[in-house]
């Protein structure tokens, strides 16, 4: 692992319990020091941490693409924090309840200065077990936050019945089947489950999601944000797959919130692992396929208005 500073992005709709989680993280005796980027001062009651205010300024990049955005304030803040390197172990960015997580996540890929000094550890989303169903109906931001999450803190479970809890979890799974879900009351979760996840580290995709290559169960809900996944029970041809995936995210980038894949390239002993945010893809050859392991290829898209049949057909055409 590099000496890049890990950054955890904390999202969640208003009142879900973000600040409770943040205070919990900061007050636990873990011996680590955090730089915390918040939108409003006063919410965080911890005074031995480095706390910085942010204003969530989003910049469109000038490539004519509406989904390629970065957070200008985040670039500026990280640049400033890096001058005081050594004074903290990790950065936590708390976004407002109404923020779209995409520009935050993209900043870590699109800004060279930020990506050379920090790495996105995970997007952690806190949701309210009692009110998430309502928010998914009326707040697109809440849906995006669930779709972007690597870790979901399903909070306030004491305020709902077992049936209601199961229903809300099914709703989360329909949008995002791969996030790690923790059921909590008052955001009570082991901080090792929240920090140091390396969820954006390609090498750890399989470690964190051992079931990734297993056949998933399909949920059919009428959510407009949905996940779709496709499997080829063998190798794919990189000469077909790479141009296709690149063109797909160029064209469908605004609709694809997150993408992930683990692929067996013909003649290649290593797995090809990729993940992306909107149009931005990050992929590399990582670990070897194990002896005796079934070489297969799987991709997942989380997004809006995804044409399942067309995507499946196009992916299957990449088979080697």
């Amino acid at each position: 692992m590099s000496d890049k500073i890990p950054v955890t992005v904390l999202t969640g709709y208003l009142g879900a319990g973000k600040t409770t989680l943040l205070n919990r993280i900061l007050s636990e005796p873990h011996g680590k020091k955090f730089a915390v980027v918040v939108n409003e001062f006063g919410e965080v009651g911890i005074d031995n941490e480095l706390v910085v205010g942010a204003d969530e300024e989003v910049f469109e990049m000038n490539n004519g693409c509406i989904c390629c955005t970065v957070r200008g304030d985040l670039i500026r803040i990280i640049d400033g924090l890096m001058k005081r390197k050594g004074q903290f172990d990790a950065i936590i960015v708390e976004t407002t309840g109404l923020a779209d997580p995409a520009p935050v996540a993209q900043t870590f890929f699109m800004d060279e200065d930020v990506s050379s000094k920090t790495r996105l550890d995970a997007v952690v989303t806190v949701v309210d077990a009692k009110w998430l169903t309502e928010r998914l109906k009326d707040a697109p931001e809440a849906k995006n936050q669930v779709a972007f999450a690597d870790v979901i803190i399903l909070n306030k479970t004491d305020l709902v019945t077992a049936e209601e809890l199961a229903a809300v979890e099914a709703q989360i799974r329909a949008i995002n089947p791969y996030a790690k879900i923790h059921r909590t009351q008052r955001a009570g979760v082991d901080i090792a489950e929240v920090l140091g996840r390396n969820a954006f580290d390609l090498d750890r995709v399989l470690e964190l999601e051992p079931a990734f290559l297993e056949e998933g169960h399909h949920h059919h809900h009428d959510e407009d944000v949905q996940s779709v996944s496709f499997t080829i029970p063998g190798d794919v041809d990189p000469a077909k797959f790479m141009p296709w995936i690149n063109e797909l995210v160029q064209q469908e980038g605004p609709n694809i919130l997150r993408s992930k894949g683990i692929l067996a390239f013909k003649g290649e002993p290593k797995r090809f692992v990729f993940q992306g945010v909107h149009m931005i893809l990050d992929g590399d050859l990582t670990l070897d396929w194990k002896p005796g392991e079934k070489r297969q290829s799987k991709i997942v898209f989380i997004g809006r208005n995804l044409n399942r049949e067309a995507l499946n057909k196009a992916f299957l055409a990449c088979a080697a």
């Binding site: 205010g53 910049f59 803040i77 200065d113």
Partner: protein, 332 residues
């Protein structure tokens, strides 16, 4: 291609242990001042050092030379002027915020910004405020008259602090990170988020686009005659011609080509000689007339973050990310 400098001047450098990431450097008479990320200012003539706690408990983010002081802006929200004798004076305070940008002008005038709030303080102590349309990321005083250029998202605003005249907006889409104005006041040039410069000829508002950089440009320096603008961000100092009709349709000079990116540039105050400092710590002097190169410092491994000539051009102060500094004096 690496061109070996024809001559080395490394024995004319006195090392200065700065002790923290050097944010900026400047000269107060015979003393060099290093603004440090740990909140201190280090004043030194090469043999005697004084450390001044300009921002106790905080860190310095930006610095500028203003009259007989070095002005610093910190993550403690304070703007502090430090004189050669080590005395400090608080010029401004933005509670709970960071000072994002700082500029100095004639007669010791200064300007700073925190988020959208922009303030100027003239030599008589008169403060004025202006709210930029988005975060003010770069500031520069115009050389003539008391007027400030403010770089922000989607353009630059020119503002007269002492009049009620409406601020003049020069629009260009994208995020403008810093701004500089040519010594004759004819051009404003910004460094952008997207590895390019943008400029305006102010008289007729004509746009200029200067692109092709592999990374962001962090350092801009005008030659003493105003005919050249040197820039960092490429594996050479990129020097644009601003004589006659400006750089439109003309190619820049590429000076000091090395396989490492230029981090800081500083034109000599009296001659067409450019100090070019690299991400690996190397510093070269390049004579523009014949492209000859002199080595000031060999690679140290740490990017140079500050570079400043004194008024006479005899001495150059420099510092790096790892907290190493140095004073170079031209042999007589």
């Amino acid at each position: 291609m690496t061109v070996a400098p024809s001559q080395s001047l490394t024995e004319h450098v006195v090392a200065v242990e700065a002790g923290a990431h050097v944010i900026g450097a400047g000269w107060l008479g015979s003393k060099a001042a290093f603004a440090l990320a740990d909140g201190h200012l280090l004043l030194t003539d090469g043999s005697e050092h004084t450390r001044v706690a300009a921002h106790p408990g905080g860190g310095i983010l930006v610095s500028a030379h203003a009259g007989k002081t070095i002005v610093t802006g910190g993550d403690d929200g304070r703007v502090v002027a430090t004189a050669a004798d080590g005395s400090t004076r608080e010029c401004g305070k933005e509670p709970g915020r960071w000072i994002d940008a700082l500029a100095s002008g004639r007669d010791g005038a200064i300007a700073w910004s925190a988020g959208k709030a922009v303030r100027t303080l003239d030599g008589k102590g008169q403060m004025r405020s202006f709210t930029a349309p988005t975060t003010a990321q770069g500031l520069a005083f115009m050389p003539k008259g008391y007027r400030l250029a403010v770089a922000h998202y989607n353009g630059v605003t020119l503002w007269f602090p002492n009049t009620d005249a409406k601020p003049d907006v020069f629009a260009w889409k994208g995020s403008h990170l810093s701004v500089t104005v040519s010594p004759d006041g004819q051009y404003a040039v910004t460094a952008m988020q997207e590895n390019a410069l943008h400029g305006w000829r102010l008289s007729d508002r004509k746009d200029m686009r200067m692109s092709g950089y592999p990374s962001k440009t962090r350092s801009l320096s005008w030659s003493h005659d105003g005919n050249w603008l040197a820039t960092s961000g490429a594996e050479a100092a990129i020097v644009w011609p601003f004589d006659k009709q400006g750089p439109m349709g003309r190619a820049p000079r590429e000076c000091g080509v090395r396989p490492v990116r230029v981090a800081r540039v500083a034109f000599h105050p009296r001659a067409l000689v450019l100090a070019s400092a690299y991400d690996d710590g190397t510093i070269l002097l390049i004579r523009l007339t014949d492209a000859s190169e002199l080595l000031v410092q060999d690679a140290t491994g740490s990017p140079i973050t500050a570079l400043a000539w004194n008024d006479t051009g005899r001495s150059l102060a420099f510092g790096d990310e790892a907290g190493n500094g140095g004073l170079f004096t031209l042999p007589s």
